[in-house]
Amino acid sequence: MSNVEVVEASAGWVPLAAVVLLATATAAASLDGALAARAEGRPISQGLQMPWAETARLFRQRRRTTLAADVLLWRVGVAALLVMALMKVVVIPLGRWTIGDLSVGVVWFNAMDVVVWAAVWLAGWGPNSAHSLVGGYRFLSQALAYELPLMFALTAPAVGAGSLRVGDVVAAQQGLWFVVWMPVAFLVFMAAVVGFSVWGPLSTPAGVDLAGGVFAETSGVDRWLLLTGRWALLTAGAAFGVTLFWGGGAGPLLPPWLWVLVKTAVLLAALVVVRRGLPALRPARVIEVAWLVVLPLVLLQVLLISVVVVVRS
């Protein structure tokens, strides 16, 4: 594959990007449902329909308010997860096309991720409920754990490519995918994706032990938005991981856009499968390991890459 310049698609393609994101997220949720059904000894086909059944259920259900709730901020927080996922895909090139070819695309992704802090916190704070609020606390502590490692994990490919433009990062991987020489950064990035998606092993802010945590008081379309936003964030994170570490659209035979989708699907599927074998990590443990182990490791990774880049130039 020769150097493919990433071009900005016209705004008319924005809805398509949203549809692709949601379709991929739905597929991931279906796979998760199927695996859950298998574990429970139910027909797998029943599990595959899980996202649709849950959607139908929630669309029939009424919204709910609580006493002295901060309804405005609550609704903002609830809707913001999905919105942030959509904002993230703006800078992810689908093969040759991207919605926004920002010169600081990597930073944009990171900025949107920081907005997720506010979103989850507001979703926890808004309903005026102890369980939701504790869920919000937990998310903030979790965010403190993953955010710095995530920033450095994002720095690694940017240093490797010598640019913050996502297209340049993809182009810099023509010879060698970044995952090969920055595996630690990749793993840390994926862990952070799981963290900001409040999902799987890092889903304690929405844990069963808190009666659903930030989800505890939501019903109907609000809950649907939270659930969908969660899967969409995970999908956007996986797609960005493919772009930064797995060569984006690079690959034989298939067109680049299809490669991006295939790689994203594989990465998502891997996340979903791995997650079924893991318990949730207690919040206190997460922050411990994040600061004492993960952060030094990822800093070493960035140092190593910086040295290589300096020596090479």
């Binding site: 429970e40 709730a69 937990r138 009666a211 989800f215 207690r282």
Partner: protein, 454 residues
């Protein structure tokens, strides 16, 4: 077929059920969970998450009030059902589902509901009422084994804040009290303020034991002032709720809001009939007072405590709380197989596989390591069985190995952990740890109530 019917048809394959187990009816809950699983339904995590409220057993007055309050919090469309026998659960679920998808009935239900969020009705003389339902508390003594009723008047060492909060329960109804409450919470150390509050506190306390039985509703009340107080809002009592007050003596030296949050009795993966009145600093429990809510008077139950299904069920609940759904589902499936099969020894290999799987998980070990450790000293002081030891992880493995030995030999002699011991175990832990520790203890309210009678 219009859109609405089509939605209903798809939604019927995934109904979310909130199960309330009355102490003594665990077998009914197991049967209900089995029936739900075969229909592809799932367990709700909170009232907001539920379409259907299923009561297993006939609750006493206190528990009934909690269930009614929970019912008010279901968003709707909603349906409720009661199953009194393990043979009855499938029918109960189907009848409730019929109600759930009956458009006309749901419209009527919605029209009759009050606008705005559900608030519990306030009990006037709660503690006497509590004595009234003697079924729950045969000895006529409300809270079991704990003298915390008077905690509002406790020694004053860093407890002042609790007094303020005792008034929480009186929210909503009495606006005037509410504003007093917020004065009290202003942070002035005025002892009068606290004095006032502790009077209200004692009323409020009582209220709590009724009104907040369902864990959710309290939360609305408690949290009233979160964040507002920082702005020094003078007489703000949003929704008639006094503001949460800053607390004295947090372990990290933080001035966190002190909240009163009841855990249980309507809470998934929580011992049936247990209600813990907890005082939280942030998410750390600083004080807890247990209370048990039982079945109707005159009900005698054959407790399934200590049987293989019971052990597996406890393991399953603990695994659910630990966030490991697949292993929890595996434990629940073996539990149901034990119940439905005559030759339970044939299930030993399945239990062995699960034990190996749980033991092998380093992540689980790491996450639970050292949590809720019980040493010989504690056991000795409280005359606990030798099997109650180690940390949560060891007790989880213990449930599973107990189940295995119960399948092959006669049932192991286990005696339930007295509810009154729980506060000592959980004070100082944050909520997720509290949930895990409580689930890892052998709490059995029905046994305990039966014991009091005998």
């Amino acid at each position: 077929m219009d859109l609405r019917q089509r939605l209903a048809k798809v939604a019927a394959s995934r109904v979310s059920v909130l199960i309330v187990e009355v102490p003594g009816w665990s077998e009914t809950r197991w049967a209900a969970e089995h029936d739900m699983r075969s229909r592809g339904w799932r367990t709700a995590t909170s009232p907001a998450d539920a379409d259907l409220l299923l009561t297993c057993g006939s609750p006493g007055a206190g528990l009934s009030r909690a269930i009614d309050l929970t019912w008010d919090q279901l968003p709707g469309p909603r349906a409720r059902a009661t199953a009194l026998d393990f043979a009855d659960t499938g029918g109960a679920l189907d009848r409730a589902a019929e109600q759930l998808f009956d458009e006309h009935g749901q419209r009527q239900d919605a029209a009759q509901r009050a606008d705005g969020p559900a608030m519990g009705s306030l009990a006037d003389e709660p503690s006497t009422e509590q004595r009234g339902d003697g079924g729950a508390n045969p000895d006529g003594d409300g809270p079991v084994g704990c003298a915390a009723e008077d905690h509002a008047e406790s020694d004053g060492m860093g407890h002042e804040s609790h007094d303020d909060m005792g008034g929480m329960g009186s929210e909503g109804s009495e606006g005037s009290e509410g504003s007093e409450g917020s004065e009290g919470s202003e942070g002035s150390e005025g002892s009068e303020g606290h004095g006032d509050m502790s009077h209200e506190g004692s009323e409020g306390n009582g209220d709590m034991s009724h009104e907040d039985m369902s864990h959710e509703d309290m939360s609305h009340e408690d949290m009233g002032g979160m964040g507002h107080e920082g702005h020094g809002g003078m007489d703000m009592s949003p929704g008639g709720i006094p503001l949460a007050s800053g607390g004295g003596g947090d372990r990290d030296g933080l001035d966190l809001d002190v909240l009163h949050v009841p855990l249980g009795p309507v809470l998934p993966c929580w011992p049936a009939g247990l209600l813990l009145h907890c005082t939280l600093h942030g998410d750390v429990v600083t004080e807890a007072r247990p209370e048990v809510l039982g079945a109707v008077t005159g009900f005698s139950t054959v407790s399934s405590f200590g049987t293989a299904p019971d052990r597996l069920d406890r393991a399953s609940q603990l695994l659910t709380l630990a966030g490991w759904d697949d292993a929890a589902a595996a434990a629940a499936r073996i539990r149901d197989d034990v119940l439905s099969r005559a030759d339970s020894p044939s299930l030993v290999p399945a239990v062995d596989r699960l034990v190996r799987r749980v033991r092998r998980s380093r992540t689980l070990r790491w996450s639970l390591h050292g949590l809720g450790r019980i040493d010989a000293g504690f056991r000795g002081r409280h005359v606990l069985d030798a099997h109650v030891g180690g940390d949560v992880h060891e007790r989880l493995i213990g449930f599973l190995t107990d189940a295995r030995s119960t399948l092959t030999a006669e049932s192991a002699h286990r005696s339930p952990t007295p509810v009154a011991l729980l506060p000592e175990l959980i004070v100082g832990l944050e909520l997720s740890a509290v949930r895990l520790v409580v689930a890892s203890m052998d709490v059995d309210v029905s046994r305990q109530l039966a014991g009091t009678v005998a």
